[in-house]
Structures are given as C-alpha cells and as structure tokens.
Amino acid sequence: MIGFILRRILVVIPTLLGVSIIIFLMLAITPGDPAELLLGERATKESLDAMREYLGLQKPLYVQYGLFLKRVAQFDLGETIWTRQKVSVEIMERFPATIELTLAAMIISSFLGIILGIISATKQYSWFDYASMLGSLFGVSMPVFWLGLVLMLIFALNLGWFPMSGRLGVDIDLTTITNLFVLDSVLTRNWEALRSALMHLTLPAIALSTIPLAIVARMTRSSMLEVLRQDYIKTARAKGLSEFKIVLKHALRNGLIPVVTVVGLQFGILLGGAILTETVFAWPGVGKWLYDGVVKRDYMVIQGGCLLVATIFVFVNLIVDVLYAIINPRISVK
C-alpha cells in the first residue's frame, strides 16, 4: 500500500511538467500583452519598453520557460505581474476560502445526495423517486449564477435570514490563524464570528452544492439499484433480515464505491475554484483570482494557479483510490 502511494506521488512530477508545458504553450499562442493591459490607454512607448523589460517579456519563449522551471524546482512560484506579491502568498491568502466553501458544499451534497439516492432506489418509480430525480435534473441544469441571485433575493434581501455576500460581517474582528474562518473562530473561541462565518457560508454553499448534489443522488440511485438486484441481497432477504438492515449494511457498502469516485472528482473540481459562485457571493477564493489572472494575462498567476489546481486534482484522485481499497477490500491497489 505504501509503495503504491509513493509511486502515485512520483507520477505527480511528470503530470505537472506536462501541465506546465501545455499552459505555457497556450499562453504563448494567446494574444494579449500584460504590459499593455497594465498601462492601459496611457502607455507610452518608453513606459511599455520599461515594463516589458522588467517583466522579462522580451526574452525568447524557451528562456522564459526555463526560468520558470528553475524557480519551480526551488519551490518558488515567483511574483505576480499585477500585485508584485509572491504567487504562493497570494494563493495561501485565498485558498482557505475556497477550501471552506468546497467542504461545506461537498458535505451538503454528499449527505443529501446519498440519502436521496438510497430512498429513490429503494422506492423506485414512486412519486418520491420521480420528484427527487426531476429535482436533480434541475440541479444539474440550473445556472449557478442565476440560482445564487435568486437565493440572495429571497433569503437575504426579502427574508433577511442570511447575509448577502462576503465571508464575515464587517463589524466582526477575527484573529486569523488558518484563514479558515469557521475553524479560526472556534480556535479563538469567538462565537460571534463563528455565527457570522457560518451564516455567510450557507447561501454560497447551497448554491455551489446543487450540481454535485444532483450528480451524487443520481449516481447513488443507479448504483444502489444495481446492487439491490444482486443475488446476495436476495439471500439476505430470504434470511428474513429487515429491509433497513439489508440496505444499510449489505447493499450500501458496495453501492457506494462508484459514488466515492464521483464525490472525489467533484471535490477536486470545486477546489479548483468556483468562479461563478465566488463572483456572485463576493467570496474571496482562488477561482475568481485565477480567472482575473487570465483576463489580465498575469502569466505568473495562471502558471502558479494551474499548477496548484493540477496538484490538488492528482492528490484527490490518489485519496479516492486509497479510499476504494478501504471500502472494498476486493479491489487491490496493485
């Protein structure tokens, strides 16, 4: 098992190398000049030249890439073009916000999705089954942007139950340790901040959870349906076990295996940043930051951000594989 994990970690290196080459080539063929964008309408030839020189844009492409690799090998992602801050610092300032939102959304979607899926499978073709599957179809198809605004209008503006946007009330002072506000407020025993952080988290987490929720629910349903038709379930029924015990003890463990993959993949995707949700709810996460980097042609942000996202994706996949083995000992990690 340990050998397997080590091998998988080693695979990360060529994967990231490939990712970085692809990103670098894409940036090279995309038009747009960060120096022009930085200086805007008022750029003079002098100021443009000075800026390009400073940014190293006049060097040939392969030299730029070589310099980039050299830095990365020294665990240095360089400085961003726009804010002149270390890319790693910029990421660390925003990534906790993304982790917090993703975790909340994944908890909601996995929990509800699995329950909905199980009930739908055990009560196939009932009204509940139809309703929940129709609901999840809506969940997949609904634009997050629109849903976010609707949630905000109803629950924040009209009912006043939740705050509209941001991560924390403006009147609250929180000493940050991990930058995960929910965790920080618990660690510093700042209950007012905890309440505010949770309230701020609710609406964006709901908006973000709809798509994974729908996917998880449908996946659980179909997987459970298949398992429930297996012979060993019939045997269990013949033994006279209660339906509750059959579903939860015998069927679920097998039924969950494909669901774990789906949950893992969704988790990885969301950690890369949920641009739309972050934009609507003014959630200062890594997705909006990366998107702005693309718009502003901030090569350093794009490179650093994509490497981060790729690394996370690889590791989440690794965790999923390990979980597989734990849930189902029949699957060998070899």
């Binding site: 038009p31 747009g32 000049d33 960060p34 022009e36 964008l37 930085l38 200086l39 805007g40 309408e41 008022r42 750029a43 003079t44 030839k45 002098e46 100021s47 000075a50 800026m51 400073y54 726009w82 804010t83 002149r84 801050q85 910029e90 300032e93 925003r94 605004l149 905000m152 209008l153 924040a156 503006l157 006043g160 705050p163 509209m164 946007s165 941001g166 991560r167 403006v170 009147d171 934009t279 609507v280 709810f281 003014a282 200062p284 996460g285 909006k288 930051w289 702005d292 042609r297």
Partner: protein
C-alpha cells in the same frame, strides 16, 4: 391672523434649526464602501488602477490638492510655492506640524525621498541625514508616462520645510502633476523598514490610516487622530472598502443597507436608486472623452477632411448617449470636458445631419459612398469609464454610416491586443473607438497627449498638423494660465475645422448611496476623498 403668523414663525424656526443641525458634522461611525474589485497595491508610485488609488487618496497626501469637485489647485502639504521667471525652478514651502501615521514628522527630506525614489538618475539632496534609497525594482508607471524624468532635473531640500525642483524644460502642467496620486508623499522611515512590504502597509499623512487588508474581501482604514487639517475631519471612525465584484449584488447590498456607497452600478439600477426614498445618487460630470478616431497613416482618411466631416455629421451621437450610455453622459463638442479650464464653448460641434453628410461625402469624391471599399470600425471589447459598451456603439455607428452609403463592419480584439495594434495604426484599421480619463485636470493632458501626432509616433491619433503641434508646444511653455487657456481654445477650434477625430461623449459618473451619507462628493479625477464625509 396672529395664530397663523405664530405657526409660520414656529415652522420657520424649526426649519432653520433643523437645517443648521443637519449641517454640523457628527463624529463617529463606520462607512462601508462597496466597489467592484480589490486594490492591486498601495504604494502610490507604482499603482495604475482606480481601486488602488482610492485607498491612496485617503491614506496619503500630495504637495498640492485639487479643490472639491474641480481640478483647480490649492495648497496641500505645501502651503505655498514660487515659480522662477524662467519657469525652470519651483520652490515649495511645506506645512509645519504634520505627522505621518507612524509618528515621524513630515518634512522636506520626506518629499525628496518620495519623489527621488522614482527618478531614473537620482539627482537629489537631503537636508538632514537622508536615506540610501534602494534601487527600484519596477518602473514607476505614472512617473514614466507623465515624462517626469524628461521634466525634472533635480530635487533638493533647502531646509526642513523648503523643497526646490529644478526643471530641464518649461512644463506648465508640472504643478498639476504634483497633485496626482503618484506624487503622494510617503513615510521614508516606514518604507525603509520594509521596502518590499510597503506596498501592503502604506504609511502617509492622510486623514485615515491603514489597518488591515483581507485580499479580495476588504481593506479597513481608521481615523488618524493627529490629522493636521481639522476642517477636513476625519469624522468617520472607520472606513471599510468591500470588494463585491458583481454589479447587481453590490446594488442589492446597498438596498439592504449593508454598504453606504455603491460604485459603478449597472446603468439600469440608477432609475431604481432615484426612486428609492432611502437612497441618493451622487453625480459628477466625468473628466473624460470617448472618441472615434481615423487612421491617419492611411488614405483617404489622412488627407480628405470632407470625408472625415461627412462621417462626423452622419453619426447620431445623441442617440448613442441616450440609449447606450443610458443618459449617463453628454454629447461632446470638444475633446476636453466642459468642466475643464480652457474649454472652448464657442465651437459649434458637429450636428447630426444626414443631408449635410451626404452632401459632404459627395464633395469628398465618394457620392453615396461609391468608390469607398468596405471599411473597418474597431470597437472596444471592454467597458471603460468613457464608453460603457464599445461593441454596441460600433453597431449603432455602422447603421448610421449605411445611411450615407458607407459600408462598414465592426472589428474587435481582446483589450490588450486592441491597445497594442491600435498604436501600430495597421492597414486593416480605418476607424477606431478609444477614449481617455484625465489625470491632472490640465488641457495638455488631453489635447497634447492624445492628438499631437507630431510629438511622438506613440501618440494614438497620428494626426500631423504643424499649427496644432506648435500650439501644443506653446501651451506647455507658457506659465500664465489665462494665456494658456487662449492657446487651447484655438487648438479646439482648429480640431473642429480639421476633424482629426470625432468626439462622441463625456460620460457622467453616477454612484448611488444611502441617503444618510453626508458631504460625499465625487471628484472629476475619479478620486474618492472620505475625510469630510460623516454619518448622522
């Protein structure tokens, strides 16, 4: 009768008392300012964007200030200044008793340090011990683009409170430049403590001091208790700048009362704000111009004035302002805004007149557009303060041009490429949209920088007109403002006659805010000063 008079007197007294109460600023409170994005950095020398300058406006101050709602100059950190008769030496007398937020005193050495660090060749002299200024890592963008290295020769602190600037050339806009954000004075002690970290820990002399920055979320400032100018507050205890990227969400936050001022709302939300009894709309004519330029490197545009004028009369600019700017602006006659000194209100402007346009295009040698190939109209892909929707404006213009027989198509690129290629004046560009937001309120900053093609091949309108070029040189080299105004008026008349560009519109800035926000004034430069603002 007496009873009626009594009631009238009571009401009158009540009105007077209540209005005078309303005028007395109250101290305290937190103002939350909602804006579309976060600041990039907080070192005034290196910033280029409005969201960064907005914080700098409140943390730092410059030697000269712009007056409220105008770009007329008034004493700032300098109490007075003298210009030598040859226009090459500026001597500033500095304000005494001013402190930086870190407690260190503001003096002539701080001025030499703040400006000297941006110079390419540092010809500077401190009065006291001074500092060894670290080499600058990055070009200071505004310093370079305002050509300060070509203007300033040396900066010297004569004594604790006197600074002398020796110039290389007579440059009338120099004083106005000294009021711009890039010329803000910073605390040398704070900078030297951590040169790389200063961009995130700004220290100046302004009414508010920096407290905390949560990236992409908020920047918190608090009142600076030792602020020198008691007449300008600060009245608020704290100011929080929140980044709320989505325009409609920002407006909803305002409606819910969670923020006090909402920057750049969707145009459609302005009428809603005007109707809402809890809201007010702050308005300011913008110091900007959106224009349609010709490719002067290419015929027939370079030499055919009648053709250029035909297009100017064919475009229905009022319809564009009414429908695409949604009324937030006015049709432009000249290429400088009407609020600026030197504006020539006697220029008639190009009237929308299709018949006249048809007549002109025939006289230009292209009756009903015959003989003219399909032309390209470059339209901006992004919203800018002077043009909210370039692509829509482009489509409207094409419709107008078709009426006089000109076939045109809209061309667009991503913004960076657009700016870059436009500068090259390529063969495939006939007409192009662009514009400008003023920096320092000086007509030179519009008329010379944008349209004097003879000054440099990098000027975006490559119009080569000897008379105009000479007027621009005269304008720079004349120190007396009244004389300069006359020169720029002549230049505007010449532009009207020659039509090197078609001025489209000056857009207005409209930001809704809560009714209870007192004494907030938008500034033509786009600066946001909150020192005098208070909450009841």
């Amino acid at each position: 009768m007496m009873k009626k008079i009594g009631i009238f007197v009571c009401i009158f007294t009540f009105l007077i008392v209540s209005s005078s109460l309303a005028q007395t600023p109250k101290k305290g409170g937190t103002l939350v300012f909602g804006r579309g994005g976060d600041s990039v950095g907080l070192d005034p020398a290196y910033e280029t964007d409005g969201n960064s300058f907005m914080i700098c406006d409140n943390v730092y101050e410059a030697l000269v200030f712009y007056k409220d709602e105008s770009t007329a100059l008034e004493p700032g950190l300098a109490t007075s200044w003298e210009v030598s008769p040859d226009g090459l030496t500026y001597t500033f007398k500095l304000r005494k008793g001013v402190k930086f937020h870190d407690g260190t005193p503001f003096n002539a050495d701080a001025v030499v340090f703040s400006h000297g660090r941006m110079m390419k060749e540092r010809k500077i002299k401190f009065f006291g011990k001074g500092w060894e200024i670290p080499k600058q890592e990055r070009p200071p963008e505004y310093w370079v683009s305002m050509e300060m290295d070509n203007t300033i020769d040396s900066i010297e602190a004569k004594d604790e409170h006197t600074v002398v600037y020796k110039l290389k050339r007579v440059e009338a806009p120099f004083l106005a430049n000294m009021g711009m954000d890039f010329a803000d004075i910073i605390s040398p002690t704070a900078f030297m403590k951590d040169p790389a970290g200063f961009v995130r820990n700004p220290v100046g002399t302004g009414p508010f001091k920096f407290v905390k920055w949560i990236k992409d979320d908020r920047i918190i400032l608090e009142a600076f208790k030792d602020y020198w100018n008691k007449a300008k507050g600060p009245y608020l205890d704290r100011v929080i700048f929140r980044a709320i990227p989505e325009n409609s969400v920002r407006f909803l936050e305002l409606k819910a009362g969670n923020i006090h001022i909402c920057q750049f709302p969707n145009a459609a939300d302005i009428p809603l704000a005007k109707k809402d009894p809890k809201l007010q709309v702050f308005t300011q004519p913008g110091m900007n111009i959106g224009y349609l330029g010709f490719n002067h490197k290419k015929e027939p545009w370079a030499s055919n004035v009648k053709l250029r004028k035909a297009i100017a009369h064919a475009i229905n600019r009022k319809a564009i302002v009414d429908n695409i700017y949604q009324g937030m602006g006015e049709v432009a006659k000249n290429c400088i805004p009407p609020t600026m000194w030197g504006y020539n209100k006697d220029v008639p402007g190009y009237q929308y007149d299709v018949e006249l346009a048809k007549k002109l295009i025939a006289e230009a040698g292209y009756p009903e557009g015959k003989g003219l190939p399909e032309i390209t109209l470059w339209s901006m892909p992004v919203a800018r303060p002077y043009n909210p929707e370039g692509l829509k404006v482009g489509v409207a213009m094409i419709g107008d041009l078709a009426k006089i027989g000109i076939r045109a198509r809209v061309v667009s690129y991503d913004w960076g490429t657009y700016l870059k290629r436009q500068r090259e004046q390529p063969e495939d560009m006939d007409l192009f949209q662009l514009g400008w937001t003023g920096d320092n309120g000086d007509p030179d900053n519009f008329l010379a920088v944008l349209f004097d093609g003879m000054a440099s091949p990098a000027v975006r309108i490559q119009w080569h007109n000897e008379t105009y070029h000479n007027l621009m040189l005269q304008g720079k080299q004349t120190v007396d403002q009244a004389k300069r105004a006359e020169i720029y008026k002549k230049a505007q008349q010449l532009m009207y006659e020659e039509c090197p560009v078609i001025p489209i519109a000056h857009s207005a800035v409209m930001w809704p805010g809560l009714k209870k926000v007192q004494n907030f004034k938008l500034h033509p430069t786009g600066s946001v000063y909150l020192g005098s603002v208070w909450l009841p």
